[in-house]
Symmetry: C3
């Protein structure tokens, strides 16, 4: 048995050479954004269902707050002590659930989880209206993940406590998009600036299907608040109609410039950021789309370019990239907890 | 996507016109009951299995304590900090589980949940005696829901920490009954008075089957402690033998006056309180009884009459009643958390 | 219903005549071991995967710390406030999970549980490497139970926070073995002494299969740190090859003296300690081994001899022994929480 023990058991933990978790980055971001909590007051006690609810100033202040939590965790004084989150994940998820729960716990709050639909009132045929009314009395905030995209809206009709959408079917996943934006801003704090020189604009590609992936849908909505920062958004896909009806038009009106192509390798050498995702919620189950696209050590990535991925990943993102400077998806995952802390403490008005 | 956002997302939350959650009622109840904690001392560190364990004075003081928690939540100083509840729901339930867990969390305690029978020692064939012995060392109080009505008694043989019955098969559900009594007292504080004028007595109906519904069984036991307050208890059912053997005789000996009828609409115009429930635990599964009875906006309810329902509901209680003054079932559900806080803090002797 | 209420409901809880939970024993142990926290410093922030990681001095100091927690629970000041345990039990278990969670809660920490493999990223095909990387950001320590014995080693490759092995397939269960050693030391504190007189050495039997039972495997490794205390270790089994390859040789090199026999009753009259277990993890499921061995009231146990059992038990250990002085398995189960508190507070360096 002894021979199975790796040296991690016997030696002190070894530091990794590259800062792929982004431990060092959030301080620069914190310094870049002047503090102004006023825009956040509009989010106090409000439900968060869609990325469309956020404006640029709110996103910047949330990112600033997240970077404060990330750089100075010892300053957080458990402001949510005595507050209860109801963590209702009717659709399977560990990553998003733990990220929310970790954020809430780090703020000092208590949690009641509902992870098994079979153990819920739904098994007795209880309506979402009634479940919403019930939850009003049991907690201070609800996080809901449901494969039926209308569930969050139905529950909203009877809820008087805030609800946060943790992914509703194929529709939206706004807090994932917030984590993505935070990862972008940490990587390149200059994107925060109101005026961006043409030379500082970045080229970002999304390998995925905006019309069918909720993470991509929400991310594009938030990116439209930073439209001047993007020289071009390249959608890399095999689908002939990657957008939902009206989606592209709406985003273009907000200032994003799109190009759709199927040839990934032709684009990679000129891209600053590559966002890749293959999991989509189609009908009533997960489905993988665009699996012929794969990033690995031989991909012609531009030096300095970073990869983002909402995770969990399949074969589309090779592990050999993990130890390269292109890996910004670990920093993105790490930051998700702090961005959710920022959002949750804002909704509960305990950010100050 | 924007057009799906209801105005709740964009405007401040709108107050509802009627106080159907009973926010304003508990203060009157608090003032009506003189404080006397002595009767509660007999409940300290005791198991709570049956509604028969409670006397009138204990119920009044628990209701008083509940109303104090409901009206002055900010005064609760997390007296259960460091105490662990083991929340063992072997039978599916979200409503009761969350109500107990919310109560415990609001008192400051920690919780370990067992929601999946397949993940427990029971899967290895462990006896309830051994599970009880084990739990002694892991927590400070157990809440158990089990479809086998004897389980709570078996576990009791080895438990040295208190257990609270969260529903045992078709037998009893004492804390639901306590929540029901609290709802009644909040609605009409005069029911607390030792002497009640004939004119103040109320007429209450139960649409359900006392012999087969644990919530109804426990409620009638508690109501018998307030027998003078009830002019008559009308059992509305199609069943020819709605009582269990000896049940009616025992309750009548305690002072309740019963009448059984199948004609709901003939009774409604003269009833002050209508308690409706259709879910019964029969054999080893839920079953709906008496589904031909249905309350809706066209039901000939007496003005000022209130409806109680343990929830979750099916079609027997129309949602159109939710926004009427007959709706007291939301106040009942809300109060359940505070009544459980009162009971739990009493058992742990942290009520003072 | 009243007649079903046992006198436990109506009378104060009755003390049991024998101290079979060992309430009185840990004080003697606490006094026997001189405090020296230095050996524990090597465990700070380290993963705990195998019993081979511990030396005698560490085990003694952990036992001392456990006895301090057991005798002076009121002195614990919730040192893990703000720390998060991720309790990942992919293989069904209540006993071990609750024991870990209770230990963590009693130290003041928060917990996120993963009990349902179907609800995890594994369902999306996420690798253990990626899950490990993810957990780094969500908590401060992971407890993992997995039926695949390699899972803990795979996760270890990406984890930067400590992991504790809560049972990995047929391989090891080091914290159960630590609880077993604590039970032995509490029962006979003289076993702690560096020099043991021949007359004080004990005869211990294991009814079980060292090569196939992870609890037995880990226990024997820890016992080898106390080899001079054991006159002989008798393995009672029907299996012709009860040891794994090399296992017996390694343990004998460390000083344990073995004898293997199939005749339990011939051994019982001369044994001081009888450790019995029939559950083994074989292939991908639990299996009972050696079920023809059974201890009951008629077993020819030596006066003063004690029985240990990791629990949960089947028919191999009769309940009639529970109320005899041979019952030390309840004390063993009780002590497991305190031993885990000792280990967890050591890893988080909050023991002082």
């Amino acid at each position: 048995m002894v021979n199975k023990l790796s040296r991690k058991l016997l030696d002190p933990l070894v530091e990794q050479p590259l800062d792929i978790q982004g431990f060092e980055q959030p301080r620069a971001l914190l310094n870049r954004i002047p503090e102004d909590l006023t825009p956040l007051l509009d989010l106090v006690q409000r439900p968060v269902v869609s990325a469309t609810q956020f404006n640029r100033q709110q996103l910047l202040q949330l990112a600033r707050l997240a970077s404060r939590y990330e750089t100075q965790p010892q300053l957080t004084v458990r402001p949510l002590t005595g507050k209860i989150m109801i963590s209702a994940f009717y659709e399977p998820s560990t990553r998003t659930r733990l990220s929310f729960e970790s954020a809430w716990h780090r703020l000092g709050g208590d949690i009641m989880s509902i992870t098994d639909p079979a153990s819920t009132g739904i098994a007795k045929g209880e309506s979402l209206h009634d479940i919403g009314e019930m939850l009003n009395h049991y907690g201070d905030l609800v996080v809901l993940r449901e494969s039926n995209e209308n569930a969050v809206y139905e529950m909203l009709e009877t809820l008087r406590i805030p609800i946060v959408n943790g992914g509703n079917g194929t529709d939206e996943h706004p807090t994932q998009a917030m984590a993505d934006i935070y990862a972008l801003l940490k990587w390149r704090p200059a994107l925060c600036d109101p005026e961006i020189d043409t030379g500082e604009r970045i080229r970002l590609a999304i390998i995925g299907v905006p019309g069918q992936m909720r993470t991509v849908r929400s991310l594009l909505i938030l990116m439209s608040q930073f439209a001047p920062a993007f020289e071009e958004v390249v959608i890399i896909t095999d689908e002939t109609s990657p957008f939902a009806e009206g989606q592209r038009e709406e985003l273009e009106k907000a200032g994003l410039r799109f190009r759709v192509t199927g040839d990934m390798n032709a684009e990679l050498p000129t891209l600053d950021v590559v966002y890749i995702n293959t999991i989509a919620w189609v009908g009533d189950d997960y489905k993988e789309l665009g699996t012929r696209y794969r990033l690995d050590g031989s991909s012609p990535l531009k030096p300095g370019a970073v990869i983002l991925h909402p995770l969990a990943r399949g074969s589309e993102l090779a592990r050999e990239l993990d130890t390269t400077a292109h890996n910004w998806y670990f920093a993105q995952a790490r930051g998700a907890v702090f961005m959710r802390m920022a959002l949750l403490s804002t909704i509960l008005k305990t950010f100050a």
